[in-house]
Subunit: 364 residues, 2 copies
């Protein structure tokens, strides 16, 4: 089989972590007869530098034509002072919106070998395995009206948080499906005691719940959720929430693991008649401009994002598991990039880490 | 001197923790010649039960006439299924808005004796002392338009996040003043890469910063702030942010301490010509309906809220310090209510904890 993949290395460490994925793709072609037809494109700062635009129509067309997109990271101090409308982030928001990637899957997983990296006590996070589902194309990120305006000599900044029933329903369905494949517990996070938009959210989640009687569903206010993530994160299985709350809570959950450099993510669109979905995969970590180009970055989150691609876009769950197992074995073997370095372990470069994953794959 | 205080015990454990404050007030009258003219009122569920209204005009008038208000806690399962408009929370939001309490001070403090209660490792939180300043009468909590509406057969829920320049400026000034009295570091939290409302927020904070050249000011996106609180909370001194972000981050920060039962808060209005401010003080913890009426609740957060009242409303910083020291001494002496119980310590009731604070006050 051949899969069309668009690679968008982006900025900072994006290109170097992406090169390690290319290796694994080559390995899969050779050993598993799964071929990738790879196109490369620009996004974020790299695209601003080349085209004065964080996401060109051409890149977007390539993304729409691909079976899946793999993104490195966008942004960096070089572009921080650009006006709001042409910042690197705009490229990311636009590609999500245009591709209709409404479901953002953000696992927060603690690898046994790295439990010590967390700032939380070992018993609180050992074995942690949460899936946060963040709505990604609606809510206050995209609501109209928005802007900064002067009225009677006073300036106001405003944004609109808006969700329609169908928007809530489709993300809720993904969440319940996900819960069914996991431990059948779903916590929906809202602020229904203050925000009417999330009163509707809660109501729709309740209604969808009727179709999933096996799932144990609960509702939690966002302030309490941010406490509970710190108090006892293992109480959660799947969490589903709005775009803005998901942005905040998924980063909090990611940091509970202590190893951001290990966390992948997936952003999925609606399934078409054939069951195929538009999809974009990216590591949770940022572009880390301070270490870019030095062969220091941790490529594992990007490799695990590629594994998610195999699982969710190509229905190649076994191959995804192969990569995930190889990553775990590399960690068990004591290899660490700088960001996850621990006493007594062997510090390795981006390249060596990538090579070691291939070596482990060869042993499986 | 005599100070007019309105006490609003509210729901759940509110009344019993409030009784311990009454004791300290009596002690202050006797030993320090500071007298409190106390009125009691209803709010939240208690007011709904009596008047079918979470905040009556009468209670509001009492609040406006008082020098300061002390609140216990509001809410509980009994009122959870009431319609949005007459829930207990509505009383709290209304009193904040009507009294103009735009500045919510939420310290996150780790007491040396309780450092083990945190789910975070000791070195990460020992000595933690953050002050979070949350804007409390604006933003998405109060913005118009809001509601749930049907358009072309589809229901939408919507809320408006709006801040005017003067609203941002006044909270920013409180934040910089606070930073000047502390370690002169201020972190303003926004989502200026996505929300125009917080582009204006950042701009105004930058402008106010010019009046406080000694304060080291930084800006952080809210998702990163929620990570940094978990990664290394001691990097922060004062944080200032919007109503919604403050709700989430201050609860996260509170939970880092591991002992919610210890955390006070203050909500302040603008200073009038005489320098007096409207003010409401309340513990961060909720109404804990599961243990209400059993003499099990921790009264220390409410006592510390009362200490904040002495400091911020009555300029009685020395007396505030007396209470804070008494609380610390009680903890050092090994007394604990159930919520902060540790091996080898003595478990005591709400009443005994209150008495012990008085005993310590007598020794100071
Ligand atoms: C870069 C930014 C616009 C983006 C977001 O807020 O969605 C990022 O924080 C993320 O979570 O992917
Ligand atoms: C009860 C609720 C309305 C309130 C808020 O969101 O402001 C509470 O969470 C708080 O932080 O005081």
């Amino acid at each position: 089989i051949t899969k069309k993949v668009l690679m968008l290395p982006g900025d900072g460490i994006g290109p170097e972590v992406m090169r390690q994925v290319q290796r694994v793709m080559d390995w899969m072609a050779k050993k598993r007869d799964i071929n990738f037809d790879v196109t490369e494109g620009l996004i974020g700062g790299a695209s601003i530098d080349a085209h004065n635009n964080p996401l060109t129509d051409e890149t977007l067309a390539d993304a729409m034509a691909a079976d899946a997109v793999l993104l490195g990271a966008v942004g960096g101090p070089k572009w921080d002072n650009l006006p709001f409308d042409i910042k690197p982030e705009r490229g990311l928001l636009k590609i999500r919106k245009e591709m209709g990637l409404f479901a953002n899957l953000r696992p927060a997983l603690v690898f046994d070998a790295l439990v010590g990296a967390s700032t939380l006590k070992e018993d609180v996070v050992k074995g942690l395995d949460i899936m946060i589902l963040r709505e990604l194309t609606g809510g206050i990120y995209f609501g109209q009206p928005r802007g900064i305006e002067e009225r009677d000599g006073v300036r106001f900044g405003f944004n609109t948080l808006v969700y329609s029933e169908p928007e809530i329903e489709r993300i809720a369905r993904v969440a319940f499906d996900m819960a069914m494949k996991r431990n059948k517990r779903l916590c929906s996070v809202d602020k229904a005691n203050v925000l009417e938009s999330t009163v509707l959210w809660r109501e729709v989640v309740e209604r969808v719940a009727k179709d999933f009687p096996e799932v144990d569903v609960s509702h939690m206010y966002v302030d309490n959720a941010s406490m509970q993530l710190v108090r006892n994160p293992k109480q959660f299985d799947v969490m589903v929430t709005t775009n803005m709350f998901g942005d905040i809570l998924s980063d909090c959950a990611a940091m509970l693991t202590g190893s951001l450099g290990m966390l992948p993510s997936a952003s999925l669109g609606a399934a078409d008649e054939t069951g195929a979905r538009k999809a974009l995969y990216e590591p949770v970590h940022g572009s880390a401009p301070d270490i870019a180009g030095q062969d220091l970055a941790n490529p594992l989150a990007t490799l695990l994002s590629f594994a998610m691609m195999l699982r969710y876009s190509f229905d190649l769950g076994d191959d995804a598991t192969l990569i995930e197992t190889a990553v775990q074995n590399v960690l068990k073997g004591g290899l660490r990039t700088a960001d996850i370095m621990q006493p007594g372990m062997a510090k390795v470069s981006t390249t060596v880490m990538g090579e070691s994953v291939i070596n482990e794959l060869n042993k499986l």
